[in-house]
Amino acid sequence: MADDEPQPDAQFGEALRAMYRADLRVPSRVDDAVMNRARAHFARNRRGSRSLVLRIGALVTSAAAIIAIGIFLAKPQAENRAPTVARVPDVKTQGEVDITDALRVAQNIRAGTSDPKRDDFNHDGSVDQGDIDAIAMAAVRQGGPQ
């Protein structure tokens, strides 16, 4: 700002305030209307946040229920399928495979006891990692337990 900054005296502000003074009486109904809007707004927000908490709670409960059901269903299937693997040595003839079939084939490969007639799941003439992967993929596609 320059040195010759025009400085009005105190009367300037007083004259302006007097000129623009608005003797505006605000009726109580206007106050009430504003207060009612405020109350309605905050009540709406409280309801909104409460329903958000309920929605999140329901979501968490649902997720927990799905996990619990998944664990519950997985256990009996694993128990049911364990004898299947033990009972039927040839995975190729099984209608369904699960991950334990893959493990069994892996054990057979490692032990040197694999049998192409029994364990060649991908029909490539040999029993190897490709068969394990194929069984595992099939088990996953079927939704079998991991």
């Binding site: 025009p6 302006l16 305030r17 000129m19 608005a22 505006l24 605000v26 504003v34 927000n45």
Partner: protein
């Protein structure tokens, strides 16, 4: 409700109509409420209210103008209120542009600081200083307002 009277007074300054000013006041507080929750005030509350009141008042004036048949651009937004005996100062003020008159009123009627005016008008503080300086120089040079300057 601490700011109620200031908001109502400001609305009346822009609208020059009692009922419109009350409507604008209500709308302004409704606008403020809508900002909750999450409202973050970075400056004084008046800097938040000012643009809201101004815009709502302009809308109210346009609406009233249309209702009464006029559709011309709004001018003299902050012209001195009509008075049966207009003062010399009012005449001098009416010769200022809207933007110059606005900063003078914000500074000397609303008692806002340069930074608050800048925040309320969304312009740099330097622009506020420049407008204020220019406005005061014009008023000082105006025979109708010269007596208010030292």
């Amino acid at each position: 409700m601490r700011y109620r009277d200031r908001v109502a007074s400001l609305a009346f300054r822009f609208t020059r109509h009692h009922q419109d000013a009350l409507d604008v006041m209500q709308e302004t507080f409704t606008y403020l409420l809508r900002k909750f929750p999450g409202f973050l005030l970075t400056s004084s509350l008046m800097t938040f209210f000012y643009p809201a009141v101004k815009n709502l008042s302009i809308a109210a004036r346009r609406k009233r103008q249309r209702a009464t048949g006029g559709d011309q651009e709004l001018d003299n937004l902050l012209a001195p209120p009509d008075s049966s005996a207009p003062s010399e100062l009012a005449e001098a003020l009416s010769r200022l542009s809207d933007s110059h008159r606005e900063v003078v009123l914000m500074r000397y009627v609303d008692d806002l600081t340069i930074d608050e005016i800048a925040a309320a008008l969304s312009i740099p503080p330097g622009t506020v200083k420049s407008r204020l300086h220019h406005a005061l120089r014009l008023l000082r040079g105006d025979p109708a307002a010269r007596r208010y300057f030292l």
